[in-house]
Assembly symmetry: C2
Homo-oligomer: 257 residues x 2
């Protein structure tokens, strides 16, 4: 099962990614959880402590690795680098283990040309392709709204592309943009999950705004998730309701694919 989760900043992508990673891991499955959003913090949502967080180095911040694999030192202008660098040992070598979950933090190129056609991006794109197309584990990718690093060849391997939406025009607009981009990239199975839902009207609003979308389920509005974040607790410890709702979403996803 390969799941990519996206949506506007703050809608709860990371919370859902952490919940699904937790649920699969409690079933004894190997999970690779990928933090592919430089503005997210999947590690914290998975319960990694503040002290340990500091020890996790994102892949994009490993210049030696990038140079070794792509043949080009990050920041070198105009270098010609290998487009197919070796990446299959990266999860084991550079992942952070939390029980059955291997966390990989992608990070962001620090060069002025961030997100550019640079060796960091080449390595990250190849790594994501490897994870989605070549691995046996459950892979859950917490992506930014811009679906960076996702290429056509990779997107076809995604079993569930989930757009998280909250009741609000702005979140819906981002969802529409992301869905269009994903469609252009050849993603077949696009689903939505409604988060911060207060009542039936909120669900109706989202269904109406994202006409025809396959809604996998919803997570109720509650301040427990906020509270867990304040206390530095993992998302799955926020409340039983939330975990149950995520379990339903997982069941519905599996029923669809």
């Amino acid at each position: 099962m390969k799941i990519a989760i996206t949506g506007k900043g703050g809608v709860g992508k990371t919370t859902l990614s952490a919940l699904l990673s937790h649920i699969y891991s409690t079933e004894g499955k190997g999970v690779i959880a990928v933090d592919a959003d430089p503005d997210a913090n999947l590690a914290a949502a998975l319960g990694v402590s503040r002290e340990e967080l500091a020890s996790i180095r994102p892949i994009a911040d490993l210049p030696e690795l990038i140079e070794e694999r792509t043949g080009v030192k990050p920041g070198t202008p105009g270098g010609i680098f290998k487009l197919n660098p070796k990446v299959d040992d990266i999860p084991e070598g550079f992942g952070y283990s939390i029980g059955n979950i291997t966390l990989l933090v992608m990070g962001k190129s620090r060069s002025a040309a961030s997100g550019c056609y640079c060796p960091e991006s080449a390595l990250l794109r190849r790594l994501l392709k490897h994870l989605i197309v070549e691995r046996d584990e459950v892979v859950i990718v917490d992506m930014e709204a811009g679906i960076e690093h996702l290429t056509r060849g990779t997107s076809e391997g995604v079993d569930g592309f989930i757009v998280v939406v909250e009741p609000g025009q702005r979140s819906v607009q981002t969802a529409q943009t992301v869905m269009r981009l994903a469609g252009e990239l050849g993603v077949q199975k696009i689903f939505a999950v409604a988060n911060k839902v207060r009542n039936e009207e909120d669900i109706a609003f989202i269904k109406d705004a994202l006409e025809g979308i396959d809604l996998l389920g919803s997570i109720s509005f509650n301040t427990d998730i906020m509270e867990a974040d304040v206390k530095g607790l993992p998302s799955y410890m926020s409340s039983d309701t939330v975990v149950d709702e995520a379990r339903k979403i997982k069941g519905n996803l599996e029923g669809r694919v």
Copy 2:
């Protein structure tokens, strides 16, 4: 007054940007409101209707303008472009007027090399510098967490660099990263605004986590802002409390600079 507003996705940067733009405009001041976060939607928060939204083309999506000003067609690989393109007529020519407010939507390069050292980025960087360093209007920039397009020369012109934070480890971690990046860029006056605050404990948590930060004020947790977003209303119409809190924040900022 030149204000840059940043913070983790979903913390309320756009809401604060819209509120401050509204408050300055009701004082009869000319305001340039800049949407510099591809994942934000400042237009909606300023009350632009869904139908009108579709007519606003981001600067990065104007290939004719980019080619005319930089000398290079977007997407051309390795072109040599003007680093100092003419931009001073862009607010008038390409902004969207809402009363005294001129809205400029920066957008994002659509090329594979998004955010890259490309003509789009050169134009956006120069435009932001012009707005912050050379204009007389109040300028309010809704930035993404990565402070893209901000360069050393521009950052020195910023009177108030405001990091919006909500009670939660993840928002605080992003705030710390952004504050470090801003400091490295030479931004002198870094402030915080606490959003979604439920009680005194939430404020204490934020003060404690961002030790020594100059907190300009806070906006209370309420579902009115969410409700306004669902209904497509501008942020300033969400509730009087919210506008009053934003007015206090503005007063405190002016007292500091």
